[in-house]
């Protein structure tokens, strides 16, 4: 048998049937559901008189619309409330497991899947959400789907798919101290572009990726979609297995050993062929900041904002021009002179315990800069929040002037009350800096948790490593 990539193996394990043109029916093991992309799918089931194929494969949670402030009074916005109530009702009607807003286990769908052990190595995982790629960190085939596909998976447990191409992104060597998973993935996107992964399933490998914790690996896979790839994945190793062990939905008793031995095969074989291989030198990666309105518009913290006059391609030059204009930046200015109005630490990219620890280590002993109007810390789940409070991280943030909130998507996409006003500039640990993403006219700069914390304290972008070093030498 010829050598296979990790993606080949995951694909082959899930093919139910294949048509002559290569279109295949793929079996789905785990279906995560949230309130925004599911109501029309449930409505479709009702109209057609269909029932979910396997209710036990579904885990539902409201996250996009939930308030991050006191929830005892429920959701104030009636339209958001209706959407969340619709999810609750659909889960009751179709007998699906849901963590409602009041449940301590509630949180961002991509945080709670792994946290509960509902995401396991070797699974196919889908969700009506493009950041489902996050779950690929477990050696799973995980990707976002549209609402029609949500309905299709509910009704048939399968998806109609064509196999993607294989890409390997290898980050070779070790990153320097203070360079995080977020910096690695932003550097990757800067390298290959936001359409660089279109049509591919990306496997991330190399020493710098292997060195990451599961939290860091999730951050990297989360943003595979920002590189254009529906799915990103990382081979299973001891880090993966240690993380999964003992979680509520993880295999139990006799199944555990059986599962672990099956999972050990979840890596690309020696000599497996990729359609494309991209290599990055880990050592050259610096803390990153996006300057524009697409995640590929990214530079190291010590660099300057580009000048459209230096870009020979006229379509690209006008894109740079438009982005600078929207972002209110001057061509050629150093990014570390750009001051911010708000900071947001949260989202499915960076709201796990390790992210909060990373930010807290920078914040400790400092105060929010005077020009920063609001700095939000929004944990990814109720359980992350609880753990952070046990570790005293909430105190570090609140004493420095940050707000400590309830879990949800929050200002990542501003569907609830947390948003930017027109013209406001934000250092954000989320994944998208599109025009208006965090509120109409808002200006988003994507950074790591450490860099967002550092910007909040300095009032402008700054290399987080210098703050921490200063701290250590005092």
């Amino acid at each position: 048998m010829s050598a296979k990539t990790l993606y080949d193996k995951l694909w082959d394990d899930h093919v139910v049937r294949t048509e002559n043109d290569g279109t295949s029916l793929i079996y789905i093991d785990r279906h995560l559901v949230h309130e925004v992309t599911s109501p029309q799918a449930f409505e479709g089931l009702r109209i057609a008189g269909r029932q979910p194929w396997r209710t036990g494969s579904v885990l539902a949670v409201p996250d996009h619309n939930v308030p991050t402030t006191d929830r005892t009074a429920g959701i104030a916005d009636p339209v958001s409330r209706l959407q969340v109530e619709t999810l609750d009702q659909n889960c009751r009607d179709f007998h699906l497991t849901e963590f409602p807003m009041s449940d301590i286990r509630q949180g961002i769908v991509h945080v709670i899947g792994p946290e509960q052990g509902a995401t396991l190595p070797g699974m196919t995982v889908v969700c009506g959400d493009s950041h489902t790629s996050t779950h690929g960190a477990f050696g799973a085939l995980a990707f976002g789907i549209g609402t029609s596909e949500v309905e299709h998976v509910l009704a048939t447990q399968c998806l109609i798919q064509k196999k993607m191409k294989n890409m390997l992104i290898s980050v070779d060597g070790k990153v320097g101290a203070g360079v995080t998973a977020k910096d690695i993935v932003l550097a990757i996107i800067g390298e290959i572009g936001t359409a660089g992964g279109t049509g591919y399933a990306i496997e991330f490998g190399g020493e710098a990726i292997r060195d990451l914790s599961m939290e860091g690996r999730m951050t990297v896979c989360n943003m595979a979609i920002e590189a254009g790839a529906r799915a990103g994945m990382i081979a299973v190793d001891d880090t993966t297995i240690d993380y999964v062990k003992g979680r509520p939905f993880a295999p139990r008793d006799g199944h555990w050993n059986q599962a672990v031995s099956a999972w050990s095969a979840l890596k690309s074989d020696e000599g497996a062929e990729f359609d494309l291989v991209v290599r990055l030198d880990a050592h050259s990666i610096q803390p990153q900041v996006t300057w524009g309105t697409s995640p590929e518009m990214v530079i190291p913290i010590d660099a300057r904002v580009p000048d459209p006059a230096d870009e020979p391609d006229s379509v690209k030059a006008s894109g740079i021009h438009r982005a600078l204009d929207y972002m209110g930046l001057q061509a050629g200015m150093p990014i570390n002179e750009v001051s911010i109005d708000k900071a947001f630490i949260g989202s499915c990219t960076n709201s796990r315990i390790e992210d909060l620890r990373e930010a807290a280590s920078v914040v400790r002993g400092h105060q929010l800069a005077d020009n920063v109007k609001l700095a939000l810390v929004v944990p990814g789940s109720g359980l992350v929040k609880e753990q952070a409070e046990r570790e005293g991280l909430d105190k570090i943030f609140t004493e420095a002037g940050f707000e400590w909130r309830e879990p949800g998507c929050s200002m990542c996409l501003a569907m609830n009350a947390d948003r930017l006003e027109p013209g406001e500039r934000c250092a954000s640990t989320s994944n998208r800096n599109f025009e208006g993403r965090q509120g109409k006219g808002g200006r988003t700069h994507l950074v790591s948790p450490a860099m967002a914390a550092a910007a909040a304290i300095a009032g402008h972008f700054v290399d987080a490593r210098t703050l921490v070093e200063k701290e250590n030498t005092q």
Partner: protein
Amino acid sequence: MMQAFTVLNGLVVPLDRSNVDTDAIIPKQYLKSVKRTGFGPNMFDDWRYLEPGEPGMDHSKRTPNPDFVVNQPRYKGAEILLARDNFGCGSSREHAVWALTDYGIRAVIAPSFADIFFNNSFKNGLLPIALDEAIVDQLFREVEAQEGYRLAIDLEAQTITTPSGGVIDFEVDEFRKYCLLNGLDDIGLTLKHADEIRAYEERRRQEAPWLFQE
């Protein structure tokens, strides 16, 4: 049942930007709807109107942005959107496709599409056509030069005919073409294979029982 797509002879509107994301096609405040319809007035909402929009407003009373191409009188009633590369990137929201179709767009032509958007389009009778960059460039020039510019798209023959009689071939997957031509609901098609799905599940339950621990 989705609308079948056979032949379309439609007015073309050019949107000359790359990386048009689904947040731009339909901003998040409109995603709170629990319906599939009614998104048309909010297609490209941030670009299309001068004042900010919220769900529940009377959008016909808002001020259209005269600089935004879709608002120009010569493109009124357009059914074909001509776009640049990586169209539909970003979130998986199918609402983006629903906004385009509700507005009246039946086909999008671009050098490349984001995967999820591309997939979602077919589920809703919207035909995404990927053409070479050079051909798309040429189409942009022609549309801008000639008012009332229309293209005739024949899905069966996989051709696009320009006003001057030029014919451009395009690619489409067999299976997707079949569903689109017939307006078929693919859940119904998949359920014809229910026995195979059950057989797969049985086999898998033996190999990997922990996946079925519920």
